[in-house]
Amino acid sequence: MSELSASSFEPIEAHQQTQVISRPSLSYWQDAWIRLKANKRALVSLYIVIGLLLFTAAGPLVWQIDPAIQDIDQISQPPGTDRGATIVADYEPWFGTPGLPGSGLRLAESANSQAVRMQWDALPGANGHRVYRNLFPVGSELAYGIPLAEYLNNDTLYFEDRLDLQPGRFYYSVVALDARGQITDQYQSLTVELERVTTLQEALERGLIETGDSVQIGDEIKLAWHPLGTDYLGRDLLARLMAGARVSLFIGIGAPFLFVLFGVVYGSAAGFMGGRADQLMMRFADFVVALPFLLFMILFKIAFGIGPGESGVFPMLVAMVVLLWPATARLVRGQILQIREQGYISASQLLGANTSYLIMRHMIPNTLGVVLVTVTFAIPSAIFTEAFLSFIGMGVAPPTPSWGSMSNEGIKTMLTTPHELFFPALFISFTVLAFNLLGDGLRDALDARMRNVE
């Protein structure tokens, strides 16, 4: 038996924990965030979505080009085209140069992208001439190319080509016509190398040079830079993609967010209340499903007093929100009905949980999976709906672009200038993919049932 001293009665120092909790206590959202971060695909998608939002919101501040400006000199230019242009004098009409030296088909002036002026002597036996242009040499099969002009007498022996002149090599031919105006085998040809030119006035107008600049005829300047090329009216594709993103993301994110939110509230209310109220609310949802979307879109457009040629994006949003919520509402109601009967709900009710706790802690997290799947499917479908409606003239009004309308325009020239379709299509695909993957990751992260699965 040991002796007791006064010191024996001093309180023991509060020291190390007797029990070690193996995991830090995390809130629901912290845990979700950790699990989202562990999901590489979802994280990359999240960055892409943030990047897109930045592209839409901050892009136009950096790239301050009006998406409606038409650069008529650079129509349908793919990215990375040479932009050099020589300044030449203003265009003056030309009606042949009498007494031009030389023989055969020949240039009257040096050829450039402003005009190619050629002149010839009447071909033997010709009752008229036809002028052709080709991208390839005429060859033995006498493929002259595109007929540009036709003269049914020998009075006109000159031709000025101004049609869509791009830098490069052209093969011109002049072919004799017989008495009935049909082509014969008689022809002369000419190979022309074109360089790109512009005039002082055009350069000033397009802001390529300043009024005070000492630029003279013969100097070389650079045409406006279009990083992603231009469309069929010479509009800057990058600026149009940014402007288009505003419409496409507004509809693509705004509409699904709003109608899913409404659907969740409506569906969970119906599911939670149950009984007669549930029956009534769901029959109303069935009624809304039966309403035709396009008809309502047109009705809203008229009801909002939006005339032809004005943007129909807002009525489109309203029509989508008003008509597309029942699918979400049904899903959520089904989930809530199911969850309501689960044992852990009864348990927490026994432990004194009130309604709001039940909803916030159990109901919503457990339905989030379904809701997020709905949202991720709704976003691409909303973007496509917008594209379709813009195509039939119910959506954006020209010149406002949207990705959908840009794709529809680009598909017409898919074979000759693929970049006009490629970029908007790329942006749509990336957006849709990013939202899908992000939604996938979010569902895994937010699903309460997967919380303990490591």
């Binding site: 409606a68 400006i69 038409q70 008529i72 000199d73 129509i75 009409p93 052709y132 242009r133 080709n134 991208l135 390839f136 060859g139 099969e141 006498l142 493929a143 002259y144 190319g145 595109i146 007929p147 540009l148 036709e150 101004r162 049609l163 869509d164 009935r180 105006g181 069929y232 009216l233 005339g307 032809p308 040629g309 004005e310 003239g393 009004a397 020209p398 010149p399 017409k412 020239t413 074979l415 000759t416």
Partner: protein
């Protein structure tokens, strides 16, 4: 307990293993079978393809295959309005006069004719027969024309008969049909009385609304005239022998046609495709399924690469921006219209934006192919050489603003069709006027019928519009902007214009008549009634074995009447 458990699991795994092998075998067999089946199908299809491919021209049977733009709604010449009906009817029917291969007016059913100030006489040939062997007589024309102007027929082209005495009054229901100024003196002689002098009447009778209809046959069809191949009588170079609605038609050579030495050389023409899709037509042509197709500018590089012989034709129509001159529209202000006129240049539109090699930049309402007194109308009466001048345009705009008493111009409504070219032009003009004048335009895109309806009701400030010729005379354009013409959609109303049009309609001296058209052209520019955009043309390709195929500006857009197969030029 644990032992038995592991045994069970082992047998389980063994079962799964063998089942897996079995499944893999099945899958292998299924894939191999499917591959073999597809290969078999491919061979069969390849065989079938080789028998049908390249049948655009069948040298042995002297027949060709073509594509139609759309199916004719019906083939009643008196009521037809669309281009496809015109194409079919121009091959299977013939009027009093027709066009030869070089688009010159030549005798048809009439062997000679005479046009006077007060009327015309046509002497019909004896060897013109209907497809049932009965001769074509003057009575058939009288019946047909009376039917056109009869308000009950509701022919949209009744106006083209208005030069005939009382036609307009009959059509509006004021006079009975019997009073129409046309009668059959005998089976061979047709007498026409004019409402007013109509020196171009010969050109009118070549139009399909003037084609003959035989009364006894018409009555026997019981209201189904022109609805089917056997509900129509033919007197043209070809007979329509088969018409499967929505898919094919078969035209065969008319053995009893009087002019078979100069027309109708092919034994058979099949219209196997009905499509408006120009890309589909290009592919059909590439595969040798049809003999001709027209090309749009994006297709031209392909055509050049394929080394096809590309041809061109003008379709005769002119496209322009038409202003709304009604009192409630600000476009009634001439200075505003002048400003818009000065701020644009049709050369830029055609050469840089539309890029169609067969289009001509618009300079006038009267296209380049029209003939004046002796040569090209545009040569005899050169249109004003328009120069774009933005500074002057802005001055006029400012004047217009003051005259209209506006602080700021409201957005203007630009009505456009839904074709790619129309949309392109509309977007180009929208930005051009915004840049040069600071005017905002709203583009109202409508389908063809709806656009016509909106034009009729005047729901536009500017409309992208066009006009195609009905007959080969300057007047087909010249009377468009008379105050009484219902096609004058902008309701332009000027007494000076009206008086010149009156002269152009009834003057018999060709020089004075053309002078009147020259004045109309001047007035159109000075009053800025319209802004010409372009004259439409087509680049097209034809199978090199088919000779003398024509695309026309007046008459059917595609004409196979004179075409024949030359197999040596393969």
């Amino acid at each position: 307990m644990s032992d038995t458990g592991s045994v069970v699991i082992e047998t389980d795994q063994g079962f799964i293993h063998s089942a897996g092998i079995q499944l893999a075998k099945f899958a292998g067999i299924a894939i191999a079978g499917l591959a073999a089946f597809i290969y078999l199908l491919w061979i069969i299809a390849g065989d079938a393809g080789s028998t049908t491919s390249g049948n655009a021209i069948d040298v042995e049977n002297n027949s060709i295959t073509i594509a139609l733009r759309e199916e004719p709604p019906q083939l009643d010449a008196n009521r037809a309005t669309d281009a496809s009906s015109l194409v079919v009817l121009a091959h299977v029917m013939e009027g009093l006069l027709g066009y030869d291969i070089d688009s010159q007016l030549v005798p048809g059913v009439a062997e000679r004719y005479e046009i006077r100030a007060d009327g015309a006489t046509f002497w019909l040939r004896e060897d013109a027969f209907w497809s049932d062997g009965v001769p074509v007589t003057a009575k058939d024309f009288v019946f047909s024309w009376k039917r056109v102007v009869n308000p009950e027929t509701a022919s949209q082209y009744a106006f083209i008969l208005y030069p005939i005495k009382n036609a307009e009054a009959i059509n509006s229901g004021e006079l009975p049909v019997e009073t129409l100024g046309v009668r059959a003196v005998s089976d061979r002689v047709l007498e026409v009385e004019f409402e007013r002098p109509t020196p171009y009447f010969d050109k009118l009778v070549a139009y399909l609304t003037y084609f003959p209809v035989r009364e006894d046959f018409f009555n026997s069809t019981e209201g189904r005239y022109g609805a089917d191949a056997d509900m129509l009588l033919y007197n043209g170079a070809y007979l329509l022998t088969e018409w499967v609605h929505g898919s094919t038609m078969r035209w065969v050579k008319n053995p009893s046609y009087w002019n078979r030495e100069n027309k109708g050389f092919l034994d058979e023409i099949r219209t196997a495709y009905i499509t408006q899709d120009i890309n589909a037509k290009l592919n059909l042509f590439k595969d040798g399924q049809i003999v001709d197709t027209h090309l749009l500018s994006p297709m031209l590089p392909t055509a050049m690469e394929q080394r096809w012989p590309i041809d061109r034709s003008m379709d005769g129509s002119v496209f322009y921006l038409e202003f709304n001159h009604r009192n409630d529209r600000i476009t009634r202000n001439k200075n505003l219209r002048r400003a818009l006129q000065l701020a644009q240049d049709s050369n830029e539109l055609v050469y840089k934006v539309l890029k169609e090699p067969s289009y001509l930049p618009g300079v006038s309402l009267f296209p380049a192919w029209l003939t004046g007194v002796s040569e090209s109308f545009q040569k005899e009466y050169p249109p004003v050489r328009h120069q774009m001048n933005v500074e002057k345009a802005r001055e006029h705009l400012e004047l217009a603003r003051q005259e209209l008493g506006l602080d700021e111009f409201p957005p203007l409504m630009m009505l456009a069709g839904d074709t790619p070219i129309s949309l392109l032009a509309a977007e180009y003009y929208q930005q051009l006027f915004r840049k040069n004048l600071g005017l905002e335009f709203r583009i109202d895109v409508q389908i063809f019928k709806q656009r016509l309806e909106k034009m009729r009701q005047g729901e536009f400030d500017i409309v992208l519009s066009g006009w195609g010729p009905d007959y080969n005379d300057v007047l087909t354009y010249g009377d468009l902007f008379s105050s009484w013409n219902l096609q004058n959609r902008g309701r332009y109303n000027s007494s000076e214009m009206d008086s010149w049009i009156r002269i152009a309609q009834s003057e018999l001296d060709p020089q004075k008549r053309m002078d009147a058209f020259g004045e109309i052209q001047r007035l159109l520019y000075e009053d800025v009634v319209i802004l010409p955009m372009y004259e439409r043309g087509f680049s097209f390709v034809v199978d090199s074995r088919l000779q003398d195929f024509r695309r026309r500006s007046v008459g059917p857009e595609v004409d196979y009447n004179y075409a024949y197969i030359d197999s040596s030029s393969d």
